[in-house]
Amino acid sequence: MADLRELYQEIILEHSKTPRNFRPMEGANRQAEGYNPLCGDHYTIFMDVADESIRDISFQGSGCAISKASASMMSQALKGKTRQQAEELFEQFHRVVTGEPGSDTSALGKLEIFAGVANFPTRIKCATLAWHTLQAALRGEQVASTE
């Protein structure tokens, strides 16, 4: 059960219960839907991007505690960041949650609490669904899937 507490940290549970930026966005100029076909998780990410900068970001949808907390904390981390910074952060985040050797949590800030996901291989896609969806939205694709 010790591992479980590493996965379900207080901050993660708190974000899953009261997700931040959990709303639709009128006038969003970037939007994509993300699915995990294995478990039915489904989110829509909305963004207002101008001059390569994410001025606002929000999301809606349903899924497990990990996926919802990840979307919530991602939205907080990315507000005001540039597209380039967002892509780089995803790359770091992906390395950490997949437990890639030599991955560095220092650049992740608060998102480093997702490092425990690496011990639960079946849950990595939960943690990355919102990020894949974000990437699709930034690249002008409308649908992202973890499969």
Binding site: M1, L4, L13, G40, D41, C64, R123, C126
Partner: protein, 415 residues
């Protein structure tokens, strides 16, 4: 295990059954395995494992080919397995038993042969709202190709098929009915004999997806009267990669072959090929010989226990588990049909099924979480997914007690 179930089914000793399944004594995350994911796949008894080992150790050869002794032994064993399946389903003729890769392939075979010859533009295929994707998508592919229409018979909130509405869907354009005998996600047992009677009164053949039923209740295809019946070996204590399509001989005879290749032919020239007789016409290429023999061993094993005993034992567990889960605040059972098999599908307030699955897994408890390959059914209930505990002949009340204990623990994590 408590005395409760031991007393319920006279002459059935679950301890002895458990001892037949080596994997049940292993640990998961350092804890004893509590395996409640039987609707996904069942564990294998020693008899099946030993049969596979013996086949590859002593009997392996290709079938229907060699004049040498091993080929004859393998062919005989393969034929015997087919007759075992025939007896198990009470089919009239071993030629009505086609070996496939599983229930999914069996349904695709019917869609691609019977379906492609009998379903045309404007025709209709009727299925139910509780089907597994394997009894939806093959018909969608067919209907799209032919310009036909797939129609869905609705269910009520308990997860029971609305027979009147089903009957009202059938008309002169309906060319086939496809229905699950038992719903994998809800456990609902459909009244197949009645469904067949209604469909046949309008001249419509019926395919039954028996993936969840053959392992858990006695199936007599002649008594049911269905035209096609599909099931998978791995859900009935047999190996993966082997399954069965039963079809009425007259229908199978009239159907074109599906895949072409060796074994399914009588003679081949570049101008004209004559197809082999049943069942070989539908079994192109070297089949899963070991799988078929292993399936035969699994059916023999289950017959040894007695399918009626298995049914009674699992039903007692279902009642025990239903009561125990219903008593948990914030838990809602999905699928509450009067006629139900050993499936306990549930959702919990504020806890997603995926999180339920992970937390139970940490306690050694294996259940399935997700949409159970029945996404339209999940939409029907307005939920993205469920957690599902599903029973088999080796489960005990102690397994269900562990499940309930695990659920209380997950409520602690999410408190």
């Amino acid at each position: 295990m408590s005395a409760a179930t031991a007393e319920v089914v006279a002459g059935f000793d679950v301890k002895k059954v458990r001892a037949d399944f080596p994997i049940l004594s292993r640990k998961v995350h350092g804890l004893p395995l509590v395996y409640l994911d039987n609707a996904a796949t069942t564990q294998k008894p020693r008899a099946v494992i030993d049969t596979l080992t013996r086949y590859y150790t002593e009997e392996n050869a290709n079938i229907h080919r060699g004049v040498h002794q091993l080929s004859q032994i393998a062919t005989d064993a393969h034929d015997a397995a087919r007759r075992t399946v025939q007896r198990f389903l009470n089919a009239a003729d071993p030629a009505e038993i086609i070996f496939t890769r599983g229930a999914t392939e069996s349904i695709n075979l019917v869609a691609q042969t019977y379906g492609r010859t009998h379903v045309g533009a404007g025709d209709e295929v009727v299925i139910t709202a509780m089907e597994h994707h394997s009894n939806i998508v093959p018909w969608q592919i067919l209907c799209e190709e032919k310009g036909a229409r797939l129609r869905i018979a609705p269910i009520n909130d308990a997860g029971e098929l609305l027979l009147d509405e089903f009957e009202a869907l059938l008309n002169a354009k309906t060319k086939l009915v496809g229905v699950a005998h038992i719903s994998n996600a809800l456990g609902t047992v459909n009244p197949i004999a009645r469904i067949v009677e209604i469909a046949h009164s309008k001249g419509i053949p019926v395919l039954v997806d028996g993936a969840q039923s053959v392992p858990h209740l006695p199936v007599d295809v002649q008594a049911l009267g269905c035209d096609f019946y599909a099931f998978s070996g791995h859900k009935i204590y047999g190996p993966t990669g082997i399954g069965v399509l039963y079809g009425k001989r007259a229908l199978l005879e009239a159907m074109p072959p599906w895949q072409g290749g060796g074994d399914m032919i009588r003679s081949v020239t570049f101008e004209k090929t004559l197809y082999n007789q049943l069942p070989y016409k539908f079994e192109a290429g070297t089949p899963d010989i070991a799988g078929a023999i292993g399936l035969g061993a699994a059916l023999d094993y289950l017959s040894g226990i007695g399918i009626e005993n298995a049914l009674a034992h699992e039903h007692a567990l279902l009642e025990y588990g239903t009561k125990a889960l219903e008593a948990i605040p914030g838990l809602r059972l999905i699928g509450t049909a009067k006629e139900k098999a050993g499936v306990l599908s549930f959702v919990m307030e504020n806890i997603h099924p995926h999180d339920i699955g992970t937390i139970l897994d940490q306690q050694g408890i294996a259940i399935r979480t997700g949409h159970h390959c029945a996404q339209p059914l999940m939409h029907r209930f307005g939920i993205p997914a469920t957690a599902r505990a599903s029973l088999a002949v080796y489960n005990t009340t102690a397994d269900l007690d562990a499940l309930v204990g695990g659920i209380h623990k997950l409520k602690e994590v999410f408190a």
